[in-house]
């Protein structure tokens, strides 16, 4: 486990030689939340009121604490730190909702430390990059549990410390009780009782503590010593298969990224083939030299292990985004992760197959993937029927995920080839109360009806829950009319004379071939 603590970064250019503080609104006026080295040299302390601080140091620069911006910056930093390991977790809140402090993050380096030549080298690399890329002084610690790492990073004298497993009790002993991440009331109560260091707590019987203090106390002690697990909430969901490549020289061009992605995909395909699964969703992460991270997510219709297809989709997506234009100094690390897998079912070939038949479903899925990549995820649709009488509700166009089937419909009633998104009102001359239309005017053109079929009565769906104050939908009588020129329309009259409405209205809903 590794915990880092950084000073709050601010946005405006600030003179570093003069005292500079961040002020937080509190009871009694604004108080100092953080200060720089010059302010410390001037004798200011955190928690002091701003009025006293201004009296002590005359050229004081003050800025308000912006908690949201700090949290966003911390998340970006944790995101950048995923170049070391996919499990990076900012400190803000753990799963019990208790606060961990908002100025650092955890990294789970269990399987990643050996890639850097050991934990000390990883710490040195991380500390150097934080200083070079972000200008942040950091306090880092590696330990076997998150609680011990948190305490070491805050209260240990050295800025970088590695604790061998098993030494938590001895190392945490001399630290004050705040090192256990307890609430201020619990710490004050412990101090009143005479427990000033963690070591004093560790060798006492547990039952009296359980009776007098909230359960958080014993839980934090057990977490720090490793007796119970403390799960971390990673900032990105950890991928199933992951392949990362660090580069000696940063790369800028899209072709270089695609070539590198091809190599990464080849290594992933071997692992996927060994486990007999295919990728349904992938993420390409580009780690910029100056700390920004670009991620590109790709979804696929069918699980696939086809390198060329995935690379084509990545190429299309990189074309669409401006990731390459913002490359800056280049990307120093590129990672490809498979975030969703599905088993690939082996397909049995037909005995006699026409040329071009083999692999048609895969080609179809590849075509749909390419279209969705370039035109958007909702651009490829299919038809699906819905059990409803109202024609505009009788079918939906959901996005196409996999080819489906259109079940046989029992109705033989005439349905138009084209349906208008909203039925358009027309003026119709018809016999009252329920005669077919004789002449109608639609979009400025008058049509003489030569023949009509119908009516087909479609009533309102009374079983749908309606707000009490809305009147139920009127009944519709549909007519298929044909004019003298042979154009066929689908008209309906809304409302029954006398029963539902005094004057019926007519609409055009669709066009027949």
């Amino acid at each position: 486990m590794l915990a880092a603590q950084a000073k709050n970064p601010s946005g405006k250019p600030v003179d570093p030689d003069r005292p500079f503080v961040l002020a937080l609104t509190a009871s009694g006026g604004p108080r100092i939340a953080a200060l720089n080295a010059a302010a410390e040299a001037a004798g200011l302390t955190p928690g002091e009121t701003l009025a006293d601080a201004r009296a002590k140091a005359d050229s004081l620069q003050v800025c308000d604490v912006d908690a949201a911006a700090d949290e966003a910056a911390l998340r970006r930093l944790a995101f950048w730190a995923t170049r070391y390991t996919p499990t990076a977790s900012p400190l803000c809140k753990d799963i019990w909702g208790a606060e961990n402090g908002a100025d650092g993050f955890f990294l789970d380096i269990e399987g990643a430390a050996h890639l850097f030549g050991g934990e000390e080298r990883l710490l040195a690399d991380l500390s150097a990059r934080l200083h070079k890329n972000f200008g942040l002084p950091a306090r880092l610690a590696v330990a076997a549990t998150p609680g011990a790492a948190w305490a070491l990073s805050r209260f240990h004298a050295a800025p970088c410390v590695v604790l061998p497993p098993g030494g938590e009790a001895a190392a945490l002993g001399p630290f004050p009780v705040e090192a256990l991440r307890l609430s201020p009331e619990t710490c004050a109560a412990l101090r009143r009782l005479g427990f000033k260091t963690v070591g004093a707590l560790l060798d006492k019987p547990r039952a009296p503590f359980a009776a007098r203090f909230p359960a958080e106390l014993l839980r934090r002690i057990d977490q720090a010593l490793g007796r119970i697990d403390e799960p971390l909430v990673p900032i990105v969901p950890p991928p199933v298969y992951h392949s990362l490549r660090y580069l000696i020289e940063p790369i800028i061009t899209q072709e270089a990224v695609i070539a590198l992605a091809r190599r990464l995909m080849h290594t992933l395909v071997q692992v996927l083939a060994r486990d007999d699964v295919g990728a349904r969703a992938l993420r390409l992460s580009l780690y910029n030299v100056d700390g920004a991270v670009e991620t590109i997510d790709i979804g696929l219709t069918l699980p696939t292990r086809d390198v060329a297809h995935v690379l084509r989709l990545l190429d299309l997506k990189l074309d669409a985004l401006s990731a390459m234009r913002d490359a800056g100094f280049g990307f120093e690390a590129v990672g490809l992760a498979v975030t969703r897998v599905e088993p690939i079912l082996a397909r049995q070939n037909e005995l006699i197959e026409e040329a071009g038949e083999a692999g048609r479903p895969e080609r179809c899925a590849a075509l749909i993937d390419t279209l969705r990549q370039r035109l958007g995820p909702h651009s490829v649709r299919r038809f699906e029927p819905v059990a409803s009488h109202l024609p505009e509700r009788a079918e939906i166009l959901p996005p196409m995920t996999a080819p489906a089937s259109w079940p046989e419909q029992e109705t033989e009633k005439p349905r138009p080839l084209l349906i208008l998104p909203r039925a358009e009102p027309t003026e119709v001359t018809a016999l009252v109360p329920d005669g077919p239309p004789r002449r109608f005017c639609w979009r400025g053109v008058t049509y003489e009806v030569a023949g009509s079929e119908g009516p087909e009565r479609i009533g309102a769906e009374w079983w749908r829950k309606n707000d009490g104050h809305r009147a139920p939908e009127p009944t519709r009588d549909y007519y298929l009319v044909e004019d003298s020129g042979g154009r066929r329309f689908w008209l309906y009259r809304e409302g029954l004379y006398g029963r539902e409405t005094a004057a019926a209205r007519w609409f055009v809903h669709g066009l027949f071939a």
């Binding site: 390419t370 196409m400 349906i419």
Partner: protein, 258 residues
């Protein structure tokens, strides 16, 4: 070797022209894909391969206020393509207010299984062209259709080459106002015609007036056809008309100039 005389030059020229006329469709790649015949001798006779060329671009222009008839014609052609392979339809969203969108139940009623159709919605013309080319190159679908407003000569040549390469038919619905020269193999104009009615007065089959305006290596013509969606076949309306009116049933055929 004696000098070619005037007569032998002329005979050679005629022979060469005949040879070229035979070879030209092969060079242009029309003959690689199967043609889609109409099943009507009158129509198939006018088309160079006895049917709609299987690997070419065909333009369909609606007549006056007959967009639905043009859609119906495209649906009928798509239904005649070999089943059960998927079909591709590109629909720009900016035409939605003019003519609505295809209705699945209506397609099923016209004999085209809606589950075969992959519907792609695009928001501008370049995306439409790109989607059409992608579908042709992928060879995953059996036929491609789309609605497009402006098509200049170069884009139509590209689409024609892509269709010939893939051996798939490409049907494009073009609005009548924006027609230009294009490299399409055929251009049809479809207008609505009164439908055939059965003895109860109900509509039995849809009927359209087809005008083949331009056809490469073929003749132009004008017919009134009706489409039977159950049997997926076209019928000449003239054949069903009352024999007393046989003369004016609307089949006129004229040779292409030059």
């Amino acid at each position: 070797m004696r000098e070619p005389t005037a007569f032998s030059v002329l005979r050679n020229r005629a022979a060469v022209a005949e040879e070229l006329r035979r070879l030209l469709p092969k060079i242009e790649g029309f003959q690689r894909a199967k043609a889609i015949p109409f099943g009507l001798a009158a129509l198939d006779h006018c088309l160079p391969q006895g049917g709609l060329a299987g690997g070419a671009l065909h333009e369909i222009v609606p007549g006056e206020r007959s967009t639905a008839a043009a859609f119906g014609f495209i649906t009928a052609l798509l239904a005649r393509v070999a089943r059960p392979h998927p079909l591709f339809f590109v629909l720009p969203t900016y035409g939605r207010r003019d003519y609505g969108r295809p209705y699945g139940h209506g397609l099923a009623a016209r004999g085209l299984d809606p589950s075969r159709l992959i519907l792609v919605k695009t928001s501008h013309r370049k995306a439409t062209l790109w989607a059409l080319e992608e579908a042709l190159h992928s060879r995953a679908v059996a036929a491609v259709a789309g609605v497009i407003d402006k098509l200049d000569l170069r884009s139509s040549q590209r689409l024609q080459l892509a269709a010939a390469d893939a051996g798939l038919p490409l049907f494009l619905l073009r609005p009548a106002e924006l027609l230009e020269t294009s490299a399409a193999a055929t251009r049809w104009r479809v207008a609505a015609a009164p439908a055939t009615r059965d003895r109860f007065g109900l509509i039995a089959c849809a009927r359209w007036r087809l005008m083949l305006e331009r056809c490469r290596n073929g003749h132009a013509g004008e017919w009134t056809v009706e489409y039977d969606h159950v049997a997926h076949c076209f019928r000449l309306a003239a054949a069903l008309a009352d024999p007393a009116h046989a003369g004016g049933a609307g089949e006129k055929s004229f040779r292409q100039a030059g």
